[in-house]
Symmetry: C2
Subunit: 408 residues, 2 copies
Amino acid sequence: MGVVVQKYGGTSVGSIERMRAVAARVQRTRQQGHQVVVVVSAMAGETDRLLKLASEASPAPVAREVDTLLATGEMVSIALVAMVLREFDCPAASLTGAQGGILTDNAHTHARIKQITPARVQQALAAGIVPVVAGFQGIHAGGDVTTLGRGGSDLTAVALAAALQADLCEIYTDVDGVYSADPNIVPQARRLNRISYDEMLEMARLGAKVLQARSVEFAKKYDVPVVVKSSFTEGSGTLVTRPEQDMEQVVVAGVTSDRNQAKVTLVGVPDRPGIAAKLFGRIATANIIVDMIIQNASEGGLTDISFTVSRSDAQQTLELARQSLPDLGASDATLQTNIAKVSIVGAGMQSHAGVAARMFEALAAETINILMISTSEIKISCVVEDKYTELAVRVLHNAFQLDQEAVL
Amino acid sequence: MGVVVQKYGGTSVGSIERMRAVAARVQRTRQQGHQVVVVVSAMAGETDRLLKLASEASPAPVAREVDTLLATGEMVSIALVAMVLREFDCPAASLTGAQGGILTDNAHTHARIKQITPARVQQALAAGIVPVVAGFQGIHAGGDVTTLGRGGSDLTAVALAAALQADLCEIYTDVDGVYSADPNIVPQARRLNRISYDEMLEMARLGAKVLQARSVEFAKKYDVPVVVKSSFTEGSGTLVTRPEQDMEQVVVAGVTSDRNQAKVTLVGVPDRPGIAAKLFGRIATANIIVDMIIQNASEGGLTDISFTVSRSDAQQTLELARQSLPDLGASDATLQTNIAKVSIVGAGMQSHAGVAARMFEALAAETINILMISTSEIKISCVVEDKYTELAVRVLHNAFQLDQEAVL
């Protein structure tokens, strides 16, 4: 008996037939006494079709026009889903991002939500009408359409749920929840019944694709309970929520991997104060995000600095590093792209000793060499050669017995 | 040296390649010293694709959602055309109907323009930017997208030209102007260099497809000179403008035909006052437009009343007529759908005697029977059996020597 926001992804609204399944589910939820707000993505394939047209039109299409173009994908979905809902005797009305009150900044193609004023959503609910809101899009103060970047529809759903103080935000997708590892790599991977915001955040950042990190951050900030579930099967899915204070936390919740990694090394850097600031300041100015940084022990006043960036930023980073050589007094810059990051995530590792040791032992037992290590309170990441990615994930999944229900 | 509004139809923006031809033309016009406003339709085929999805979603999709759906077609065009223009080093920015200030009433799928506040269009022009405005769409006071019905993009262009006090509104289409008859029927048909608003209005109402009557009405009301020309060939096209007072007017400008006709006849109607009012009041209530009405001479106090409606309204009209039989005291109602209306249009027929007689003689010479006749100051229409449509058009084109340049 409350407000439920249901978000349906591109495959869930990929055809009129699938929209009928969505409509049936919305009707069932209403019949259970809930008020439903629907958020939809563009029909599967539509965004790619539009991007292909844009790339034909211009090798570097201007971001404002890309947003006007892409926003049509969700507009088509909301209109069709509203039509289908009415065929199910469910009063429904489409709302674009602008009509849904999703106000963003001016950063076209990766806008950030600044404010939500969902007056029309609330009016619809009060009138017994299901609002069908376009995900992924908003409007900026100047009145132009913006889009929220990858995973933007999840963000729309979570943000609307927060603004409406909804009881639940359900993310319907083509998998039935969050898994202890990618089931394509580890067949024994187990669906998690619940996971904390912080753990989900780390898993999303470290390679799990089911939810974007930005949506989880938003959910955490506004304390929105989020359920990830399949629109094709029944099942309770995975609840992403705040940790329960009175329970022990699972040591390791999941294993993730990310091949979108490259390592840049500066060789023969003088071991002087200010060198790192100079180098990484320059890289930050180019909007390149640096992940791990390792500085080796100094030998004779010279050291090596290694750091990782996204593989797509690798070439540009290498060039920047090379340009910095004279300025830094370093002798060379090298690039390694055949690497991957394998991580374990779990809130309980804060209070359990020996988790890192067990991880390193498990990898060593398969003679997988660790190139870099990075830790935080609730995760440990190791960079390894990318040919070992799947093996490392399986080995770690097994070492922490993630195929078994966690004993709390 | 002034503002020119250029409207490009669906085939003119049917592919990125064709959009490049549009961009080249816009650039040429700018280089001649004009400020250009571009209005575009949806890419050819896109509106049909969307309507097919709508009909899959619902046999009778609600008009508000149809508008949200269809409006995406023009949004795709404006974004892509703006991208292509920038590749031609022409600063350009897309504007939806709402952003272009096209305010309409609430009549979804056939909205009427209430007001145009083209502030963003004017700002763009002042900044040296080509505004690329979505045709066919607007926004109503409640903030929902509306569409203007068939030919709506022409209307957007003419209305914007009026609001901007543009020097010219150019309608680019797949034919190179307005012809003295449909060239598919009459190969010798001649392109008209100029035609008056009133003549164009009659030709549009009587079957010429090149411009919608609503756009011409608007152009006449606000005295916007309109040129119809081809986007695929060079040529001066046809200028639609007010008549020049000091010149003789051409007797017959063109011949048109319209097969979308049906004739309903009420037989044995008592010849009493108020009968026609009762019958046509009932039909008007059903939003059916009656075109010609003929009442035969009374025999023994009984008469026949025949009238024409669109073929799509024929069955409903027949039913209404049958339901009215007892009330009217008539004996029967019949329907004839194998008819067509053939018309000649020309402002000069007001001052020339014998035009009607020449029309009837020409048809009679081919033994084409005239079923109904209707005249106004600048047109004469005859209903004939539809199998004679093309023959009648050719015969009339020949009788008034429309293949020859008019002698003024």
